[in-house]
């Protein structure tokens, strides 16, 4: 057995094209996703907004603006100087304090909107403080504290409490696709095990060792290689690209095991049935894999949710959607029942394909070779 495993391992890892699709392609695609949208979405490079303020130096409004220093760069000026600066485009707005606080802008756009929002917020807060100070002075201190904590409370949070960025779903689907790419490995093994598919398959079919033993060795090798490939991908995504795929490595490992199994066994069954050429069937297999990945959300972020509404049965049987949903349950919903349901479904389907492949291949006697 060790002999079979050793040489099968050497043979598979030397198949460069196969290893490219099974390992390098998901890594490359993950890197492209990262630089394409993830990095920008997580490190927004907002430009500072220059604004002129016409106010007394000890105005509480200036103290408030200091709190927005990561957004605004304000300059205290005389009214004429400020108007000139606005004309020259050196500032994008002018806050003027008088009987009423006003904002003057030269054009519409994002920056003037932000300036307007900030002013509105200040005015609202000011009125609120004045009202509380008059009507409930004893609550003034508590209200000031809660106002300071405002920003912390408005951070986007998931249902389960983990910080959420919905773009992470692309990476969930990417892992799903990588799991399904194991079908290339299973398919390669299947071709070289069937006498009607390759001369090597013929030679292996007439050997002294039982087909069951040979198939077992083959499966262990490709499954092992695929699992390691998936784990390399996970480590790369989590460790280097810092994609939040989940904290529980054990559960990620289990999801990869289930996903990897379905990928490999799908390839084995696809290689065992039918008599059309290997290239045709491999192309068909790639098409199926990409379709499943598409419906699993690899190319359109909300695809899985759209399919869920339109055709939930497809999601229930799509391995990529199940893997993606497994990650989703772990990191977004923190719904472990759903996670386990997905894992069991994947293992069940994987076993089904594997058993079917074994039944087809064992004791096979061909009509023609």
């Amino acid at each position: 057995m060790l002999h079979l495993v050793k040489y099968r391992f050497l043979q598979i890892i030397r198949m460069r094209a196969l290893m490219f699709w099974a390992l390098l392609f998901p890594v490359i695609l993950g890197t492209l996703y990262y630089f394409g949208f993830w990095k920008n979405a997580n490190c927004p490079q907002l430009e500072m907004i220059d604004v002129a303020v016409v106010a007394e130096e000890d105005s509480p409004f200036l103290t408030f603006l200091e709190g927005a220093e990561d957004l605004l760069s304000f300059h205290v000026m005389e009214e004429e100087e400020a108007e000139k600066a606005l004309e020259n485009g050196k500032v994008q707005g002018i806050y003027t304090e008088g009987r009423e606080r006003t904002l003057t802008v030269a054009a519409t756009g994002v920056a003037p909107s932000i300036l307007e929002t900030i002013l509105k917020q200040y005015n609202t807060n000011e009125r609120l403080i004045e009202k509380v100070a008059v009507e409930h002075p004893e609550r003034l201190e508590g209200m000031m504290d809660s106002m300071k904590a405002y920003r912390d409370r408005t951070t986007e949070t998931s249902l389960g409490g983990t910080v959420r960025n919905s773009l992470v779903e692309y990476f969930f689907a990417l892992v799903g696709m990588a799991c399904m790419f194991g079908c290339d490995l299973g398919f390669a093994v299947s071709l070289s095990s069937n006498a009607d598919q390759s001369p090597v398959g013929m030679r292996r079919n007439i050997s002294y060792l039982s087909r069951g033993k040979i198939m077992m060795a083959d499966f262990l090798v490709v499954y092992g290689i695929h699992f390691v490939n998936l784990w390399i991908l996970i480590c790369y995504l989590k460790g280097i690209l810092r994609i939040p795929l989940g904290e529980d490595n054990g559960k990620i490992l289990l999801l990869c095991m289930a996903g990897g199994m379905i990928g490999v066994s799908f390839g084995i069954i696809a290689g065992s049935i039918g008599k059309s050429s290997g290239t045709h069937r491999l192309n068909f297999l790639t098409l199926i894999t990409m379709l499943l990945s598409f419906f699993g959300g690899l190319m359109v972020q909300n695809m899985r949710h759209i399919v869920d509404k339109c055709c939930p049965l497809l999601n229930a049987w799509n391995p990529v959607a199940l893997i993606s949903d497994g990650f989703f349950s772990m990191t977004i919903y923190e719904d472990m029942a759903r996670y386990w349901r997905n894992v069991m479904m994947l293992f069940g389907m994987g076993m089904m394909f594997l058993v079917a492949g074994c039944i087809v291949m064992r004791r096979k006697r061909y009509d023609s070779i």
Partner: protein, 309 residues
């Protein structure tokens, strides 16, 4: 050792084997001779229990062979028509891998692999991958993979296709050597010279039927042609050709492109008689060839077509 009785195999509407009967005795080099599509490979695949067949029985070592007859398969080595090796493994790794499908013991296997390498003369190419080998070397690797476990029965299915003459001779010598060491050989080919050179018993197949079986001498005795005489650069008229046809033991004389071809039944005096007639008529002639019948002549007479038609 192998007994095939009444074997029928159909591929859809095509009858590939038509009530075929064969018997291979231990120690023979048994040749299956026939043109492409005559059913040679189908017979082999039935012997190896790879193909389902419609009727008949195939017994190997006295037992009906089935896909799960591993104890029988252990004693069989096969050299395929197509080279059956892993492109990604080296010469040594390939031989070791395929030998390992029969011999689990590491030390014993190592010895056998080394013997197979020496037998096929692949010592200098152990670390080469198959794509780096020439056609002849690749065929030798294919043979090494099939025979490394020293099987009792070796089946070689057209092992010399697309091999240069030098490598072909080496392969044929190797096959005889394997037979001398005790293996029974089944050898399929559509090259009659090869079959004639190495086989101790031959079956001629055509359209899935066994047309004749015997040693090469027995087969040649089955046909009318005992001697074929070819005379180059000779000019004859119809009358003279007719006269030649009436010479004793001559049953056919054809004159075409200034070349005379005469078929005679076996007799020591045929050539002398023909040359005497030409001298007597003062007919000048060029080169003279006298040949014993070949298996191609046998095939031609039995089937009415040349082996490579």
């Amino acid at each position: 050792m192998i007994l095939i009785e009444n074997l029928v195999k159909r591929y859809g509407k095509i009858l590939a084997l038509d009530h075929l009967n064969l018997e291979v005795q231990e120690g023979e080099i048994y040749g299956l001779l026939g043109p492409n599509g005559s059913g040679k490979t189908t017979v082999i695949n039935c012997i190896l229990a790879l193909l389902k067949f419609d009727k008949g029985s195939v017994k190997v070592f006295g037992e009906e062979i089935r896909p799960e007859s591993y104890h029988l398969k252990k004693q069989i080595g096969v050299v395929m028509q197509n080279v059956a090796v892993f492109e990604e493994l080296s010469v040594y790794e390939n031989i070791d891998y395929f030998c390992g499908l029969y011999i689990p013991e590491k030390l014993k296997r190592k010895k056998l692999v080394e013997e197979a390498i020496a037998f096929t003369g692949l010592e200098e190419y152990l670390k080469f991958r198959p794509q780096k080998l020439s056609g002849g070397l690749l065929r030798r690797l294919n043979i090494a993979c099939g025979i490394a476990h020293k099987p009792r029965l070796i089946i070689l299915d057209e092992p010399t296709v697309a091999v240069d003459p030098q490598s072909r001779n080496k392969i044929l010598e190797g096959i005889k050597e394997l037979n001398r060491k005790g293996s029974t050989i089944i050898y399929t080919s559509h090259y009659m010279e090869e079959v004639e050179q190495i086989c101790t018993k031959i079956s001629i197949l055509d359209r899935g039927k066994c047309l004749a079986t015997g040693t090469k001498e027995e087969l040649k005795r089955m046909v009318k042609t005992g001697q074929r005489i070819v005379i180059d650069t000779v000019v004859l008229n119809e009358k003279q050709i007719e006269k030649i046809r009436t010479l004793p033991h001559v049953f056919s004389a054809v004159w075409k492109d200034q070349c005379l071809m005469v078929h005679c039944t076996e007799d020591g005096e045929n050539l002398i008689r023909l040359l005497s007639y030409l001298s007597q008529e003062k007919i000048p002639f060029g080169r003279v060839f006298s040949e014993q019948p070949t298996l191609n002549d046998v095939f031609l007479e039995i089937t009415g077509k040349a082996l490579r038609d």
